[in-house]
Amino acid sequence: MWRLGTVVALRDETATARTIMLEIPDWPGHAAGQHVDVRLTASDGYSAVRSYSIASAPSVERRIEISVERLPDGEVSPYLTRELAVGDRLELRGPIGGWFVWRPRQTEPIQLIAGGSGIVPLMAMIRSRAAAGSTAPFRLLYSVREPGSVWYRDELRSLPERNHSVSVTYAYTRATPKDWPRPAGRIDTALIASATWPSNLAPTCYVCGPTSFVESAAGLLSGTGNNPAKIKTERFGPTGDRQ
């Protein structure tokens, strides 16, 4: 079933990524981690469907936010990040998915690991936690190319000040800020050991990013003693155009 959403606000996250706020009159509500399918149809009838994770916390308002990275050869993302304007309408299917989801009734420690635009569903979980007044301890390990690639920068920066039980660690893969203690590089065992919950606390882990990133991060988590049954993954790849 396709619903019609109206763009009510647009916000640039980085030079190549944009957040789109949509108002959907018949939106039934969602859980943090779920996604929507977006369908664009050209005047000749050709249509393309892409999946985008919901970035916003569940709310009583009939509004959701998605964040989209512009892919150079994408069919859909250049339109969404460049052409789309406030007042435009989009066809949506969702909310979708019941597995890669965090619900406020979960009280155990939560480990979030994001690669690039994989931050989106994890941001929904962080926002959902705050909106629900949950005290579940959260840790986020966020891997980005360089400082300018961080999405939701101001909100993430202010998180630890407002709430001591959410911590954020950045891993830079290409370029670091000045005087950053760790050289640029991918997430490795040492970083997993220092920045994530010890496995004896039995955290539930949510890992989202490109397929190779998820493969590696989930492997490191289970390699450091985490129960594979408590590691939930969401991969996106060039085939799915998944953001």
């Binding site: 597995w99 155990e108 493969e215 969401e234 085939t239």
Partner: protein
Amino acid sequence: MSSERYDYLDGNAAAGELSKIFTMDVTAAEGQCAHCGATGRFAEAHLYMQSPGLVARCAACEQVLLRLVNIAQRVFLDLRGMTYLRLELAAESPAENSRGSNT
């Protein structure tokens, strides 16, 4: 290990296509592989979308669990790779992590 090939997604990504057919969220359901007997949530299967449809493979043995192909106004669904799918009827929260919160 076959996971050296990074060309698959998670079963999660099939949720939109499957929602055209099923009224319930199938990705949170537990299924059993008909080939090796492994059980897991459908969301944990390996999903290949490069083909003209969807192919879900067992995360343990990589044998086919499900095939779904759209041709014009028809959908072909092949489920013989699974001996069962266990759908939770507690409709309010199919996403509830049953292993979850007390451990």
